[in-house]
């Protein structure tokens, strides 16, 4: 009866109704301690997706049970798949699909409000989530706007343009708050346009700076392009939210593939700063260092996979490190103070390199670039890794990645002396899907769980309960022993886990939340 009354009341109260316990205080998420909140795309700034919560652990995980589910029924342009990592702030979950945002009670999955952006059209492949600062939520729309929403009312405060959709730019990236900057990435690799990162004022939306993922004409790195025309149309989208080291005041992110995508014959050179890990000063937008995992890409292998920040010990010395399992099949461990590579080693099947240069950068084999009559290449276009969030667990010292060993054939379709856009593609394929645990210090595989069939990929969460949560290739959310790789628990969700799972504790209960297709599922340990 109580439930019924509440439901009826909900019908008559506007969708901006607050949760019973609400009037949220302006929040500045405690980024160091992920217990009662998950306040950023990666939980904290490090990109580890590691939670110190341990009530759910290798012993208790078997009692983890479904608490609630929430299904998305509104969409534009077909994008109903929840690939967003939800934020959890003050007991409320915030998540997105293209052009829509929801605030949902983190205890019971009840909708508090829904925000619908009237999109003027753009690519609706996915939206990775939102950022929250104080009482404001920020997210990107598919038609290239950064929208600020009041988190108590669900109403728009302002919006600001972040790109020109005429040029096939679109918004999909979860913004990241760094001090008084809303850091914004941009998507779109159908067309020959340069990528960039922008910082916006969190109060007004005003543009603070824009950094393009190419050198300025005349700079030494510009010599990695044949001419300025190619460089200024050279791609390098910033598809995935970055990580941040407050002590060094550096914002880290990877850039996308070079353009034109498959036929790279008219852009000889390394094509900086495409497929590159970059460190920017977030106050100035100036590049501090870069390392290029994938020079002169011609396989659609971006290097946007989360650059995970690890404080580790190498050869007895404390080091500030950055690790990436890159789409091209290579694992890189860098010193994040200066970008110098300490480890460059394959973590999946790859056949496209001639070795490494003195900086630890793979040297591409020209014979394995796309050819008019085909070149058999590993990995395939989807990559050994992709955008799906990896995880690092400091207790096990393992870096976890959804890894694919795969082949396909790359063809050049357009042999125009000035190829544009894609000008080719890969076709067909064979792949084997695994969850792979890598020793962060060496890149060596410690354990590998090969899924019994190929299929989709999911993001990864690890916890102090020695657990790893991820989706399998079909439709199960699975919990592993993070140290050994033993399977401990699963729940069939009817669709592939489509985001990175999160965890938080409220009222002494630990929750685990994951999305599968159009539905968000909340599990709890009683």
């Amino acid at each position: 009866m109580k439930l019924l009354t509440a439901s009826i009341l909900a019908l008559f109260v506007s969708p901006v109704m607050l949760p019973a316990q609400a009037t949220p205080e302006p929040v500045k998420p405690n980024l160091a301690k992920l217990t009662d909140s998950w306040p950023t795309y990666n939980g904290d700034y490090s990109g580890r997706r590691y939670s110190p919560l341990a009530k759910v652990n290798t012993t208790t995980v078997k009692q983890l049970s479904l608490a609630w589910s929430f299904r998305v029924e509104t969409t534009t342009g077909g994008g109903k798949r929840i690939s967003a990592t939800p934020l959890e702030v003050n007991g409320v979950l915030y998540f997105t699909v293209p052009s829509h945002v929801w605030a949902v009670d983190a205890r019971n999955g009840r909708k508090l409000w829904q925000f619908n952006w009237a999109s003027k059209g753009g690519e609706s492949i996915g939206n990775r989530g939102a950022a929250v600062l104080g009482n404001t939520l920020y997210f990107e729309t598919e038609d290239c706007n950064l929208v600020a929403i009041d988190i108590t009312t669900g109403r728009e405060k302002w919006h600001a343009s972040i790109g020109n959709p005429d040029q096939f730019y679109f918004g999909s990236v979860a913004p990241v708050i760094v001090k008084n900057h809303v850091m914004v990435g941009i998507s779109g690799d159908d067309f020959d346009i340069p990528g960039y990162i922008e910082a916006h004022d969190p109060e007004t939306g005003a543009l603070q700076w824009r950094w393009y993922s190419h050198p300025n004409p005349g700079e030494p790195e510009a010599k990695t392009w044949p001419n300025d025309e190619a460089m200024l149309h050279g791609g390098g989208m910033t598809w995935v939210a970055g990580t941040y080291d407050p002590d060094l005041n550096l914002y880290y992110f990877g850039t996308g593939n070079a353009q034109p995508v498959i036929n790279g014959t008219a852009r000889p050179g390394a094509n900086l700063y495409t497929s590159t890990i970059c460190a920017l000063n977030p106050d100035t937008g100036k590049l501090v260092w870069y390392f290029q995992p994938n020079p002169h890409d011609s396989h659609d292998w971006d290097a946007v996979q989360t650059p995970v920040l690890i404080d580790g010990v190498i050869a007895g010395r404390k080091r500030k490190l950055l690790a990436q399992a890159s789409r091209n099949g290579w694992y890189f461990l860098l010193d994040r103070t200066d970008g110098k590579a300490l480890v460059s080693t394959p973590f999946a099947k790859q056949n496209w390199t001639l070795g490494l240069d003195a900086k630890g950068t793979p040297i591409p084999n020209p014979a394995k670039m796309a050819q008019p009559n085909g070149a058999l290449v590993a990995p395939n276009q989807s990559g050994a890794a992709n955008w799906y969030p990896p995880s690092f667990n400091p207790a096990t010292g393992l870096f976890y990645v959804p890894a694919y060993d795969a082949y396909s054939v790359y063809y050049i379709y357009d042999n125009n002396k000035k190829p544009e856009g894609w000008a080719g593609n890969d076709r067909g394929g064979w792949s084997r899907a695994s969850l792979r645990a890598i020793d962060y210090k060496t890149g060596k595989v410690r354990w590998n769980h090969e899924w019994p069939s190929t299929g989709g990929r999911s993001g990864i969460l690890t916890t102090a309960g020695n657990l790893l949560f991820t989706g399998d290739t079909t439709s199960n959310l699975v919990a592993f022993n993070a140290a050994t790789g033993a399977v401990l628990w699963h729940a069939g969700l009817g669709s592939i886990v489509s985001n990175g799972p999160i965890t938080y504790e409220l009222d002494g209960l630990q929750y685990v939340v994951a999305a599968a297709g159009d539905t968000l599922y909340g599990f709890v340990l009683h």
Binding site: P372, Y413, E420, G428, W430, W451, P452, N476
Partner: protein, 263 residues
């Protein structure tokens, strides 16, 4: 038999089409083009624009790339049919074109088609230079290092192969026979229960927790993978998968050329 072969050919083509459809969603909004209008536009372009902007509209030293023109891209996305291009046609450098509304629309459609053609799903998505290999070397690989002759016969199951598939499809077929929506030979699964009883058939589904198969009789069976249950699978195309680690690219090109000769 003929019907079956035709169906398979259709099925494979359909599977490729489906893949194409998935990637074409990458250009939303689609800005579809009327082919007749674009064709008329291409003639106007060839007569009035190509001399400076290039036959492919990608620019020359004297005039800019029109595929990268913001005005053209705006016209395309908003489907303005040349309305906002009109002032540029009269006032642009060395421009003094007075096109009719219809001519502007045709030109707009030609440029829209030209932009659409370079996107992820552009062109006809067909490789064009598939016969660069050496048929003799391909034959040697077939009978030697490739080990193809152990399972296949060029006068038996592969007779007339070159007539059944276009070269690009044929190359994909021998590289990745288990790829696409219509698979002829399913993975074979055998499930042995703790009781010792075994079931075999076409694999329908397998994950770490359950397995399902369809027996020869057509009966569907699924099993929970409880302790003591063993699942073994046999991929009928395992020999093709093994070859992926062995092929050189010339092997692939040579084999393609050889198999195309099997008329």
């Amino acid at each position: 038999m003929r019907v079956k072969k035709r169906f398979l050919k259709f099925a494979y083509a359909a599977s490729l089409l489906c893949l194409g459809a998935a990637s074409s969603r990458a250009q939303f909004p689609q800005s579809p083009v009327d082919p007749a209008s674009a064709e008329s536009g291409s003639k106007i372009y060839a007569g009035s624009c190509a001399r400076c902007h290039g036959e492919d509209a990608r620019g020359t030293e004297t005039a800019p790339d029109l595929l990268r023109s913001l005005a053209v891209l705006h016209d395309r996305r908003e489907m303005l049919y040349g309305k906002e291009l009109a002032p540029l046609m009269t006032a642009g450098p060395n421009h003094n074109f007075k096109f009719s509304e219809k001519q502007l629309a045709d030109l707009s459609q030609f440029l829209t088609a030209s932009v659409n053609g370079i996107l992820r799903s552009g062109y006809n998505a067909q490789p064009t230079n598939m016969l660069s290999g050496d048929a003799k070397a391909g034959e040697a690989f077939f009978n030697g290092a490739g080990g193809c002759g152990k399972c296949h016969s060029v006068t038996g199951d592969l007779a007339g192969l070159g007539k059944r598939y276009a070269p690009a499809a044929l190359q994909q077929k021998f590289l990745f026979p288990n790829y696409g929506l219509f698979i002829r030979h399913k993975v074979q699964a055998t499930v042995k229960l703790p009781s010792g009883k075994t079931y075999s058939g076409d694999l329908v589904h397998v994950d770490d927790f359950t397995v399902a198969l369809r027996e020869k009789s057509g009966e569907y069976r699924s099993f929970t993978r409880i302790a003591g249950t063993t699942v073994t699978t046999v991929d009928p195309f395992a020999a093709h998968v093994d070859l992926l680690n062995k092929y050189t690219d010339p092997d692939i090109h040579n084999l393609t050329k050889y198999l195309v000769t099997l008329k």
